[in-house]
Amino acid sequence: MDVMGGIRRRVAGACIAVLATAAVGEPPRYGGHLRIAYTNEPMSLDAVLGRSGGDAYYWRQIFDQLVDADPELTPRPATSLATSWEITEAPHAITFELRRGVRFHDGTPFNADAVKFNVERILDPATMATPRASMTVIDSVDVLGEHRVRLNLKRPWGAGLNMLADRGGVMNSPTAVRRLGRDYGWNPSGTGPFRVAGVVTGTAVHLVRNDDYWGVDEAGNRLPYLDEVTIRVIRDETVLVSALRTGEIDVAYLPYKDVSTFRRDRRFRIETMPGGAIAHVFAFNVAMAPLDDLRLRRAVMHAIDPRAINTAIYFDNAILADSGMWPVGAWAHEPSAARPGYDPERSRQLLRDAGKPDGFEFTAVTNNNALHIPAAEIVRAMLRRVGITMDIEVLNAGVATERFFHGRQYPLYMTGWSRYPEPDWLASLAFKSDGYYNAANLPRPDIDALVERGASFYDLAARKRTYLELNDLVLREAWFVPLIYGVTYAAAPLRVRNLDRLMGWDGKMNLREIWIADPSASEP
């Protein structure tokens, strides 16, 4: 069991925000209207109901989580709705001390009853909450006082605080949820820095400052600084970039092809997040012929030179993967020697060992987008050099995901994956024998044991050791092998300040501390 067995650990929480980042010289200015754009419209503004990772661009502005985390995914009480917490192991539980004086956008108070309501709402299967799978370790919730609440756990939950930093920890107004029912998703009421002022279906979401917001900056100034935010939907990346250039929008994430021109343009500032995503990964169905043979999977991997893909598709603006699914910047990341690297001679040798010296044929699936299609073409050409023939099927990401992981129609899926720095999330979904994203579902008690062990420690060093062991195993078996780690590039004109605070641990935008140097000039 846990090295901490039985010992209580207290995580002290500061009541006043003291952030790790150095203080800025210039005093922040209040006011202004920030216009940003994103390529997808939200599925829902209710964080727990949305079924798209991109929804976070919207809900991060509207909600706070019970536990917030800094970019390294270390819990940060100063920006969390819980000011401190205590983890106990006999019985397993986490007790939270809640922030006082916080109100939801509808005016109702945030308290222990609200926490209980929100957790139980996620656990109720009828809610259809997306984070439910990562929260079922919670057995029950006890209200211990107006601002004290305990989550009773079925087993130790090492990933718990990190899971609560994502949608699972988002707090909605129980009154608004009950009153609006199924219409709540478009009229959400959180405690976050901005309130929803209007939604134009498929076009834009308009947010206004929550004047009652509890958050403050290092100097004690009330947050947020901005009066208004408009998040526009611009589906085409080329158009999105030209909107940024012409000043139609103020902040955007850049496509790789435009990074170098913006770097040269001195009117813009660029912030980067290395490891902002798994840009390109080979996911294998290890039970499907012909790639059920480990030697052939490794032969495929050894034939691929990720450097060429990074240059041709990502203009050298991404990072070559040196390990598995926990990318650069995630706490469980360590370069791994188990990763099958580029070595065509070894690839040919493995083909001979597997009795296929003249190569073999298979069909892979990839996503219908401007990065994955040309990358698949390059992969096909590289495989042909060692004698392997790969056919490519191109499908919309949702359909490809469903057909690969559940329809079991392809032995290989060349895709991308969001950055998710808490390893238990992917480990439970993809590596566990019954995982939702385990295409083969082969019984693997050794891997299941590692996944369960990783989630059972509260000690970070012990967790990391377990996940590195799991990582090596997955790479050695050529199961999930990343080629390229993504880098997220956020660009904004110089008048947009605190851009270094824009990206949270998940790389999504958070506008809580963004301000504009000339707020009066920002009206369109």
Binding site: R51, P125, M128, A133, R235, T238, R403
Partner: protein, 318 residues
């Protein structure tokens, strides 16, 4: 007339039934588990939740039964809720249809404004350079796919010249000038094919009318050419143009599917494309139902307009 109208309205019912049943069948014929297809890539729902989705949408029952349940609610005006964003489909369709309607009307007006004068000019000046130019342009207009024209228009007017916005939409009733600026490029791309067809139609109709006896009589009376064309010939020459209107409604919806996606316009076309990609079957069925209804109504309006335009046409009540 009224009995004719009633008969025509009743005839719509089987057409709508067939169309919606086909769409229903096709959406469910796609391989894979429709419940799982509702989960976005990288997200997950557990077995218990998937089971609830299947039960809520009757996915565990035979397709005809599912259709019958949908139909029973649809006739009461309930098209269900989008399986993706949870909004009532009727409400979504209302906002999206308003967008497509605005944009279809602008496309249609642009098409007529270009096509009818061009058609008349090329009939009146038959065999002269203006006729050849108009003919070549109209053949081009029919042959060039509208998405290609749309991309070229974005590149030229949006990116190179920077005159017009290329993405998005502003409600024309809220800000008419800005709304129109956003509308010009997509409406042009959408309307150009219709424009080419209407031009060909009005040219040949005009030629035919100009050869009629009454036109010769008018001319013989010493009437000025302008008055002959505008007062006597045009009204009769417009009849085939009205026919094309009915046909073009369908074309505008079909074009909207492509053009709205290209220009980021949140209308019916984009809605349908997304619904299909996301396998949001209730949304797709609702959208197709509305589009089919619109085409049928447009055809009916066309037929009624005939009688009004041409006194020789009467719909018998016998």
């Amino acid at each position: 007339m009224w009995r004719y109208l009633l008969r025509r309205l009743l005839q719509m019912v089987p057409v709508l039934l067939i169309v919606t049943f086909l769409v229903h069948g096709l959406m469910h014929a796609m391989p894979g588990d429709p419940a799982r297809a509702l989960v976005g890539p990288g997200e997950s729902l557990d077995e218990e939740q998937l089971e609830l989705i299947r039960r809520e949408h009757n996915l565990d029952r035979p397709i005809p039964v599912q259709y019958a349940i949908w139909l029973g609610k649809a006739v009461q005006g309930d098209l269900g809720r989008s399986t993706q964003n949870q909004r009532p489909v009727v409400e979504e369709l209302r906002t999206r249809a308003a967008v497509t309607l605005q944009f279809g009307v602008v496309a249609w007006i642009m098409a007529v404004l270009i096509a009818v004068p061009a058609g008349i000019a090329s009939a009146v000046y038959r065999g002269r350079p203006i006729d050849y130019v108009a003919t070549v342009l109209s053949i081009g207009g029919v042959a060039i796919p509208n998405f290609w024209l749309g991309i070229m228009a974005i590149l030229l007017f949006g990116v190179t010249l920077g005159w017009l916005p290329t993405q998005g939409y502003v409600d024309i009733f809220e800000d008419p000038l800005e709304g129109l600026r956003y509308m010009i490029l997509p409406a042009f791309a959408l309307g150009i094919t219709s424009s080419a067809i209407i031009m060909r139609q009005s040219r040949s109709a005009m030629l035919e009318v100009l050869a009629q006896d009454y036109v010769r009589t008018a001319r013989a009376k010493g009437m000025r050419e302008k008055a002959v064309i505008w007062r006597h010939a045009l009204r009769n020459a417009l009849l085939p143009v009205v026919t094309v209107f009915g046909l073009q409604t369908g074309r505008i919806f079909a074009g909207a599917v492509v053009i709205e996606t290209l220009f980021g316009i949140p209308g019916m076309g984009q809605f349908l494309v997304q619904a299909i990609f996301m396998r949001d079957f209730l949304a797709a069925q609702g959208a197709v139902l509305l589009m089919a209804l619109a085409v049928l109504v447009a055809n009916l309006v066309t037929d009624v307009a005939y009688a009004w335009l041409d006194p020789r046409i009467k719909y018998d009540d016998r």
